[in-house]
């Protein structure tokens, strides 16, 4: 099965990674870790955005996916694990990537926003679920490796 994991810098993404570590996988499963470039980052100057767009925008997603890849390699040394930085509107980027890579399962964390926050910010997980070409796994609970290990 081809498993795609979409990460960002949030706590919920960390939970998705933890989930991945503490669950069993088949020997033939392949993984693709992706992160979408967030063009709305507040912590950049216009100058650096114009002169070094690649570093400015891609640094954070690259760091996230590389850290996840290193950790995954330790736990799943036999599996194929690739990474990709995506750009564009978040939902579209994730859905298109799942289509192009012909993913079988897409794993996402969800912030679990409720009420006004949900209304204003929406839920990426929900939008992705609607348009995803494959199965979607939304990770909510905190999984600890020790607790779940048998």
């Amino acid at each position: 099965m081809k498993v795609m994991i979409s990460l960002d810098s949030s706590q919920s993404s960390q939970r998705a990674v933890e989930f991945l570590f503490c669950r069993p996988w088949l020997a033939e499963d392949e993984f693709l870790i992706v992160s979408v470039v967030d063009a709305d980052r507040g912590d950049m100057s216009l100058g650096s955005a114009m002169t070094k767009p690649n570093q400015t925008f891609n640094a954070e997603p690259n760091r996230i996916i590389q850290a996840a890849q290193v950790e995954m390699r330790k736990i799943l040394p036999e599996h194929a694990i690739s990474t990709k930085t995506l750009s564009g509107p978040i939902k579209q980027a994730i859905v298109d990537c799942a289509k192009n890579w012909s993913a079988d399962l897409l794993i996402l964390g969800s912030q679990g926003r409720q009420g006004l926050n949900r209304l204003m910010l929406g839920s990426v997980a929900e939008e992705v679920l609607r348009d995803a070409p494959c199965s979607v796994q939304i990770v909510r609970r905190k999984y600890s490796r020790q607790e779940d290990k048998v």
Partner: protein, 149 residues
């Protein structure tokens, strides 16, 4: 991990069962198959259609029980050694399922999706999406899953 699998007898819920059968699980994982008998809106006369049932109709519960027993035996054949239970409840499906995730302390829901779009979605909605919003546990929505076996 405690895995709850809502079953409605459709092709999509079959896909969810197939997914559970084909994916690896830990020995400690337990499974609960659920079917919710939804009340029929009596006030618009649907309950008087021959063959329809009311929520407290024991025949509906017997039928659901039989459906779940078939699925349960299917799961038992592959998931040897796991605890597998089943449960039939009555009421509005979403509320019942959300309550049950809390009551049974589910860690994960695995369910199929009809993958409706456009007018059908507007009319019938999506149980998967409703549950995703309302439940506090993780959820796997199985779509376009073609088994390897």
């Amino acid at each position: 991990m405690r895995v709850m699998i809502p079953i409605d007898g459709s092709e999509c819920s079959k896909a969810a069962v197939e997914y559970v059968v084909e994916r690896p699980w830990k020995d400690s994982d337990t499974f609960l198959l659920v079917h919710v008998v939804e009340p029929i809106p009596v006030d618009i006369g649907i309950a008087y259609v021959p063959g329809a049932y009311t929520p407290d109709d024991p025949a509906a519960f017997e039928q659901s029980e039989a459906l779940l027993k078939i699925v349960e035996s299917e799961l038992r054949a592959t998931l040897v050694g796991h605890t597998i239970e089943h449960k039939v409840t009555g009421g509005p499906a979403k509320a019942e399922l959300v309550d049950l995730t809390k009551e049974w302390k589910a860690d994960m829901i695995v369910m199929g999706s009809h993958d409706r779009h456009g007018f059908n979605r507007l009319l019938l909605g999506s149980m998967a999406e409703d549950l995703m919003k309302a439940a506090h546990c993780s959820i796997t929505i199985v779509k376009n899953f073609t088994g390897t076996k």
